[in-house]
Symmetry: C2
Subunit: 352 residues, 2 copies
């Protein structure tokens, strides 16, 4: 059982429980949407819905201490949660960060530097740090980021809003973060200081930062939600193939995407080419790009702005009937697009 199967089991259990609790629906606030989207939705009678998301970052699983900085980690902890709130079409408001640190890391001033990174990003998007917890650990760093957002009542964009005929778009470029991770694994190290660098070094550094310091698509999320342009939306954290499958599963639809239209940065293509990496595989299955994947009704496609915050969107495919499955076309060939992104508890081939 991987974590997605497990989450579905827990979700079924909560749903069964909710059926029995229907008498509670006379209460002031109700949970509109719990497990199974980028964030939970709490509806209150005051005209706003609250969105809640939580993300764990674990040392040596999600990051390595010697390939990032405390500031970048603080940034990333908030960025991944901002991306979830953006994927609901909502505005982020209040953040909570819990950190567990070994004593030597605590003594090194790590926590202050982590909060420096967190606050820099929080300030940019008007997020207030509202709480958290601090604990000692024996040897590893653990960070849990929780973020509460808000949107007008009923306006949250769910994964389950896609219908056949809807057009599929993604923001920005895909595969950058996965390329960055491969470069880190091969020994590249990030330079956080600005200043002139040789072009290759500059390009590599940009990809490393896409992995270590992702920029959430906050502006796009708010626009797509508030102008009601997106029917369904998810952020690409596990990988396009996995996250498109998540969205299709929730919506009860299929999809076909066009491999040639997947936005891959020229820099990724060049750097991958020189290192025997396949940029399309990184773009399809590499996670942590934190771009937004969303669907738009055909009549609304013309209303999409060209760019938000300097970031463009790209058409990549079309929602189809569920019976068609989730597929990818490359010229005349078409094949099934299986989820190939990150799973925490997937057995490797050797273990199976």
């Amino acid at each position: 059982m991987n974590e997605f199967d497990f989450i579905n089991k827990i979700r079924a259990r909560v749903a069964a429980k909710q059926g029995a609790d229907s008498a509670l629906s006379t209460q002031h606030s109700v949970l509109l949407q719990g497990i199974g989207d980028d964030a939970a939705i709490i509806h209150s009678t005051g005209g706003k819905d609250s969105l809640v998301t939580t993300d764990l970052l674990i040392e040596d699983i999600d990051f390595k201490r010697d390939t990032t900085t405390p500031e970048l980690l603080g940034h990333k902890a908030l960025a991944v949660s901002l991306s979830d709130i953006a994927a609901m079409g909502a505005r982020a408001r209040w953040g909570f960060v819990s950190i567990g640190l070994p004593p030597d890391v605590w003594e090194s001033g790590f926590a202050e530097r982590l909060y420096d990174g967190y606050f820099s990003l929080a300030e940019l998007y008007g997020v207030e740090l509202a709480g958290g917890d601090i604990s000692r650990t024996t040897d590893k760093i653990v960070i849990d980021s929780m973020l509460i957002g808000e949107c007008d009542s009923g306006r949250a964009v769910l994964r389950r809003g896609a219908a056949p005929g809807d057009q599929i778009f993604v923001t920005g470029f895909l595969g950058d973060a996965a390329a960055g991770l491969r470069l880190i694994e091969r020994g590249a190290r990030v330079h956080t200081a600005s200043g002139p660098k040789p072009l290759e070094e500059h390009s590599v550094n940009r990809l490393l930062l896409r992995q270590l310091s992702p920029v959430p698509r906050v502006g796009w999320g708010i626009l797509l939600g508030e102008q009601q342009l997106a029917g369904a939306m998810i952020d690409i954290s596990d990988g396009l193939s996995s996250d498109l499958n998540h969205l299709c599963e929730e919506s009860g639809v299929g999809a076909v995407i066009d491999a040639a239209r997947i936005p891959i940065d020229q820099v990724v293509t060049e750097i991958c080419g020189r290192r025997a990496l396949d940029p399309l595989m990184l773009a399809l299955h590499g996670g942590e790009d934190f771009e937004l994947l969303f669907t738009v009704k055909p009549e609304n496609v013309g209303k999409l702005p060209k760019r938000v915050d300097g970031v463009a969107v790209t058409w990549v495919g079309t929602i189809q009937e569920q019976s068609s499955g989730v597929r990818i076309s490359e010229g005349a060939r078409i094949w099934s697009l299986e989820p190939g992104g990150w799973e925490h508890f997937r057995k490797t081939k050797d273990e199976e």
Copy 2:
């Protein structure tokens, strides 16, 4: 610097930031209270305030794998957060649990058993599980529990509401959880099956469960909040000495408590007596009792019920002017009550 100093630094930084952001106060919802209480308070115009709390549980710091069970851990993760919401005088509504597990623990079915324990307690208090995150770790278990509660607007009971002359009460008994921890450290193991046991074994087991499976004072919290009987409140998680100091610091007051009135269970006294443990030290400085410590105006003392959910409250002292400090009296002697509870990053004497 211990974590309390650090939290105060972060808090000052947030407060400075909030001053600069006062233009935001025209928004629908505002953060009334962030860092520095048992939970953050978000005020919305719908007539209700939301309370948010988060608690990290780290393996080999907060628990050991071989001295508890997954079910008890699931229970405790929610219980500590329920205690925080109770300490705000509020009702718990929505829970979020993030868990990080090593692969072998994941394979053992640990997560399902943890959720079993969580759901049992959640059902008891009407908490809905609304989300969370699941991650792999290299070797240690980590659990982060987040809980959102609600109360009528402006009715949350803060740490800062105590005034000189107010009377200080605690629910239940103190020192049980610390006694339970000492017994575990000396090799005692919990029996979760019911059934007849010799009296001594039964008593020991009850103390172990006070440590491993605390019962939050949910009923008392709601009553004290909704009937506006408590001026200030905190849950005793770090220890009476620490938490009373926290409450007094936030309220800008002093206090004197009467050692003879601190409620210590006869079982603790007996078991400690036979094991050369000082029950008063456990009751003063031992943490994790998750009882409520609260202040009541003299004219309201008569309105306190004798028991809620079978749990009594005990008068332990009086709030005084700040200049008096926080003190404890034992007969004619009186001395300063220094925080002696749990700190994550306190140096031991040897290290200082």
